[in-house]
């Protein structure tokens, strides 16, 4: 058994990550609907979403159904009425009697680890507050593997590097692969100093401007700069405007460079990029399906094997 639950990317070794990415590859054609297989027939997934997230919830639902399994949903609205009278611990104890696997999104950090302690069945963390969202990181890595190369990777992360959990988890995972990491952000949204030091001790990392590295990088990973992080709108527009990717700047990029984004985007990637061969963000979202299939398969069927 590699792992019983999937709570944090920090719990996984490089070997674990590679294992999941290789397994995802085997499910790719089934994820696309080009082949049919039903190894999870008779298995039931419970989506417990205490916060709205259509994209992640649907992706898990698709992954489960494409493998022949079934899904029950508790939406954010239903969850909030449950939450009024019942602890998460009790909800998990009840639902783990119904379902074979629980997918949990919850506003409190650490909720998934806590839920796993109360569950008889595997728990998958689909985001706990500003904490962890490991399946996002795994699908990001799978996208890089498929559309670029995890070996000898040079990647630039651009946007909100201070608050974005997606970025923090991805950076940690990239250190497992000794990637060269470039950081591009306004000073007020830079990677927290303590975290930067930690990363420096593990891999090569540098704070740069996009112009300096655009010719050299394999992947440009863009994240949303959130308006609510700024005290006034003017400041936001000033910053957001200078961290925008358009088809013009991409003319300087390597031919096989790719642009990624966890979506939803606001306007940090101009729609003019969508039509270029650099744009991989919609493909990236789709790759969430084979990756989640691999995780479900591993947790539901492989759990008794070494």
């Amino acid at each position: 058994m590699r792992f019983k639950h999937l709570i944090s990317i920090d719990d996984l070794s490089r070997d674990d990550v590679e294992y999941i990415l290789n397994l995802a590859e085997k499910f790719l054609r089934i994820a696309k609907g080009e082949e049919r297989a039903t190894p999870l027939e008779g298995k039931l997934l419970a989506n417990l979403f205490f916060e709205p997230s259509t994209r992640t919830r649907m992706s898990f639902e698709v992954a489960m159904k494409r493998l022949g399994g079934e899904v029950i949903n508790m939406t954010a609205q239903e969850a909030s009425s449950v939450a009024k009278g019942e602890t998460l611990a009790d909800t998990i104890k009840v639902v783990s009697k119904y379902a074979d696997v629980i997918v949990l999104r919850h506003p409190l950090e650490g909720a998934a680890r806590f839920a796993a302690e109360h569950s008889d069945v595997p728990v998958i963390n689909a985001g706990d507050g500003a904490g962890q969202h490991p399946t996002q990181t795994l699908l990001d890595l799978y996208t890089i593997k498929k559309e670029s190369n995890l070996k000898g990777l040079k990647i630039a992360l651009m946007g909100d590097l201070k608050y974005s959990r997606t970025v923090h988890s991805l950076i940690k995972a990239l250190t497992l692969f000794n990637a060269k990491i470039y950081l591009i952000s306004p000073p007020s949204l830079a990677l927290p100093e303590e975290f930067l030091e930690e990363v420096r001790s593990m891999t090569d990392v540098e704070e740069v401007n996009l112009e300096d590295v655009i010719r050299d990088i394999d992947v440009l990973y863009v994240t949303r700069i959130q308006k609510e992080r700024f005290p006034d709108e003017e400041e936001y527009f000033k910053v957001a405007g200078s961290y925008k990717v358009d088809a013009e700047i991409l003319k300087k990029a390597k031919k096989n460079m790719i642009v990624m984004h966890p979506l939803p985007r606001v306007d940090e990637i101009d729609v003019s990029v969508d039509e270029t061969h650099y744009a991989k963000y919609f493909q990236q979202t789709f790759y969430g399906v084979p990756v989640r299939m691999a995780i479900l398969y591993e947790l539901l069927l492989e759990k008794f094997e070494i």
Binding site: A89, P107, L108, E109, G110, R113, A130, G131, Q132, E194
Partner: protein
């Protein structure tokens, strides 16, 4: 014994009980809180604060008559003063010397400063921290949300 020499100006010997020496300067009152000694208590307590120490520069000492310290209290003291030494006293003599040891994990001893952490909710849950030491600095990492804390004494329950 250098602790006796350093402390002798400020505090006298006790007959039976516990002497906690080499407490980080200024933390004696926190140690009293950990020992459950509150205003209005009946224990005889001697405190020395900011006394000179060869090893530490300045240190605090606490002596409590008639009280022997337990494991859980030792863990708490270790978090705020990893160099503290414990002497159990019987008939004015040291009957046992102990050093505090930093536990690798502590449960229910520290509170997580992250208001959004599940340990600060109404769930039936005890806080849990992993303790990491590098040289003289000690940090604790929340088992649930991953928040790191450095000034541990601020978060001892």
């Amino acid at each position: 014994m250098d602790s006796a020499k350093e402390g002798s100006l400020a505090v006298s010997k006790i007959k039976c009980g516990t002497v906690i020496d080499h407490i980080n300067a200024g933390k004696a009152l926190l140690v009293l809180r950990i020992l459950g000694i509150k205003p209005g208590c009946s224990e005889r307590v001697l405190i020395a604060m900011n006394v000179p120490s060869k090893k530490m520069g300045k240190k605090d000492i606490v002596k409590v008559e008639g009280k022997y310290i337990g494991e859980k209290e030792l863990d708490r003291i270790a978090l705020i003063s990893p160099n503290a030494t414990i002497n159990l006293i019987d008939e004015y003599e040291v009957s046992e010397k102990r050093r505090v040891e930093l536990p690798s994990t502590v449960e229910g001893i520290l509170t997580c400063p992250n208001k959004n952490c599940i340990t600060n909710s109404k769930e039936p849950i005890k806080s849990k921290f992993h303790i990491r030491r590098s040289g003289e600095s000690v940090r604790a990492v929340c088992h649930y949300c991953g928040r790191k804390i450095y000034e541990l004494d601020k978060y001892v329950v």
